[in-house]
């Protein structure tokens, strides 16, 4: 009897759970779902809101991107029109796309490396100094809209710090209109964006470095690790791969979404659209012109860009230290 019970899982089940009908895949799943009733109830409130405000909007956005919709009339299906218009006729979108990719390509990797590098050096400090330096580096990203302080630094008159300093040193004679000159707008926004970029990813790295198993370093020393760089590559990086992947998602997603800083510093629209990004373009069509179908196409392109890049980077990061 005992042996038979082990061989046949159905007879081993308690009577209350055992289904009356012969088991199929579906009936087994149904039984499982019933048994996990409490899990679903706990999940439900969050998941309903999450679906309503995150999942559903993405789906709606994708559907609307194939329509003409002005919020007044019922959406009219127009096929790929919005996309062809976006890529073939809308010159400003192409500027926005170029700027966004430039921001992502520069601020993404630099901020990611900076997050790691500073976290790594800070981790070598004593506890009190470590807490202090963490605060210093994290403060800009946490202090809300304080980036407008850069307006004062790069202000176009002689009272701006940058102009004042350069004039006093005799490098320039007239104040420069930093934020109204196309050549300077992008570098300044990139600088401010980097200043703001040591956020959640940075904290994750600080935390990750503290969780690396200390005995691994001892073992590494025995196995011939000679300097801090080897230690970093062979021990530290592989040990904190999960945090590295999390940090990458956070830094990348932020680097694609430049908009607030651009609007605050360069204006909206900026001079000759020099600081236009996909997000500001989206805001333009979504909230100023009410071309919702077209705005949805922009949103969908941005969505695919962000998610696609993230998934590729995740794949690459799995290889760290292998």
């Amino acid at each position: 009897m005992h042996n038979a019970g082990l061989q046949d899982p159905e007879t081993a089940m308690p009577a209350a759970v055992r289904p009356v009908k012969p088991q199929t895949w579906r009936s087994r799943k149904l039984a499982e779902i019933k048994a996990s009733k409490h899990s679903y109830i706990l999940l439900a409130p969050y998941m309903i809101l999450f679906t309503l405000f995150t999942v559903l909007p993405v789906v709606i956005s994708m559907i609307l991107s194939f329509t003409y919709f002005n919020m007044l009339e019922f959406p009219r299906f127009v096929g790929w029109d919005n996309y062809t218009r976006l890529f073939l006729e809308d010159d400003i979108f192409l500027i926005a796309l170029k700027n966004t990719l430039l921001f992502a390509a520069i601020t993404g990797p630099i901020s990611y490396l900076a997050c790691f590098l500073f976290a790594w050096v800070i981790n070598e400090l004593g506890p009190r100094m470590r807490a202090f330096m963490t605060l210093i580096f994290y403060a800009p990203s946490i202090s809300g809209n304080v980036y407008f302080i850069w307006l004062m630094i790069f202000s176009g008159d002689r009272y701006g710090i940058m102009n004042g300093m350069l004039i006093k040193l005799g490098i320039i004679l007239e104040p420069i209109q930093w934020l109204k000159t196309e050549a300077f707008i992008m570098p300044i926004i990139i600088l401010v964006q980097l200043w703001l970029s040591l956020g959640t990813g940075f904290l994750a790295f600080i935390a990750g470095l503290q969780t690396v198993d200390k005995t691994l370093y001892e073992a590494g020393a025995v196995d011939g690790v000679r300097n801090r760089w080897q230690e970093l590559w062979y021990i530290t990086l592989p040990s904190m791969r999960p945090q590295l992947m999390f940090g990458a998602v956070i830094q990348l997603t932020t680097s694609f979404a430049v908009a607030d800083v651009s609007i605050a510093l360069a204006g909206f629209p900026s001079v000759n659209y020099a600081a236009e990004t996909i997000v500001t373009h989206l805001i333009d069509f979504g909230t100023t012109r009410f071309e919702m179908g077209f705005a949805s196409a922009i949103a969908t392109v941005l969505f695919i860009l962000m998610v696609g890049t993230n998934l590729i980077v995740q794949k690459l990061l799995r290889k760290v230290g292998e």
Partner: protein
């Protein structure tokens, strides 16, 4: 190599932390390497801190010092004038300024409480239960970390207007409940609660809800704090996202922008309001730093 091999023998029996301190000196760490790394930290630390220092100093400068050539970083004759100007200015606003403060505090408070409770309730089964659809649901949440909310802004407006929430506090509060980074961090943190603890409660006859509320929740306090500060950052800085039009419902951030953008005559008051606004999240972080770092330690994405 010889020296390295001797390490474990000499140190056997000592405390690990002590041996670590010694090890740092022994494993080849060139002085130049250490020096240049700390020099790097100092230079970039200054880059991070100076704009904030400048902002704080500006708030205490008299107006003639704000507009002085050459401009100075540090204040020479500190004054509280900008703050008293600010208070005067606030007294004149059409909607009493306390109303803006109330709006922001209300939105931030309710938003945070709701988010912490809902996200924790959802994180518990995702971290500790086994049920059909679990992996899928969590993967959708992770995927949602990969794009910013601006992607969904337009459809969100339509959904909020169907629900009749446009131009109410709820237009900002309810979507904040379902902020996905919070759920993600909470779920990762809950995974380290020992299963034995939950099993023991189950054997004692506690329901899932009771286990969640009386055992899981008290054990994840560091994660609460992290969720609180993340959501605080978002909601404290919200200007209504274009969902709130009525002046009497608008937020502190919106009102302060009006002051900051007020031009030359408001430069002093603008600097003062900026300092007040930024000090709140910084002070919050100052007191919760170690708890937040503790939560972030579990934030990693597993393969």
């Amino acid at each position: 190599m010889k020296a390295v091999y001797e390490l474990p023998k000499k140190r056997s029996g000592r405390l690990l932390s002590l041996s670590l301190k010694r090890r740092r000196k022994r494993v080849n760490r060139s002085f130049m390497g250490t020096f240049s790394l700390f020099a790097l930290l100092a230079v970039f630390g200054a880059f991070m801190a100076l704009p904030l220092v400048y902002a704080i100093n500006n708030a205490f400068k008299p107006l003639d010092e704000i507009f002085m050539f050459p401009p100075t970083l540090f204040v020479r004759n500190p004054t509280w004038n900008n703050f008293s100007d600010l208070i005067n200015l606030l007294g004149q606003s059409w909607v009493p300024f306390s109303r803006y403060i109330f709006n922001t505090v209300f939105i931030t408070g309710i938003g945070i409480v709701g988010h912490v409770i809902l996200a924790s309730a959802a994180a518990y089964p995702l971290a500790k239960h086994r049920f059909p659809g679990k992996t899928f649901l969590f993967q959708v949440v992770v995927l949602s970390l990969m794009f910013t909310p601006v992607v969904t802004a337009t459809p969100n407006y339509m959904i909020l207007s169907w629900l009749g929430m446009i131009d109410t506090y709820w237009a900002v509060i309810i979507p904040a409940f379902a902020y996905s980074l919070g759920l993600y961090l909470m779920k990762q943190f809950m995974e380290q609660i020992p299963d034995a603890l939950l099993e023991a409660a189950k054997i004692d006859g506690a329901s899932e809800y009771r286990i969640f509320w009386s055992i899981v929740m008290p054990n994840v306090k560091p994660a609460w704090l992290t969720l609180i500060i993340l959501l605080f950052q978002i909601l404290w800085g919200t200007d209504g996202n274009g969902f709130i039009y009525s002046e009497q419902l608008k937020t502190l951030h919106y009102a302060s922008n009006q002051i900051i953008l007020g031009g030359i005559s408001r430069a002093g008051a603008g600097a003062a309001v900026a300092v007040i606004l930024m000090s709140v999240p910084i002070v919050l972080f100052l007191f919760s730093q170690s708890r937040i770092i503790e939560t972030m330690a579990t934030s990693g994405m597993k393969d």
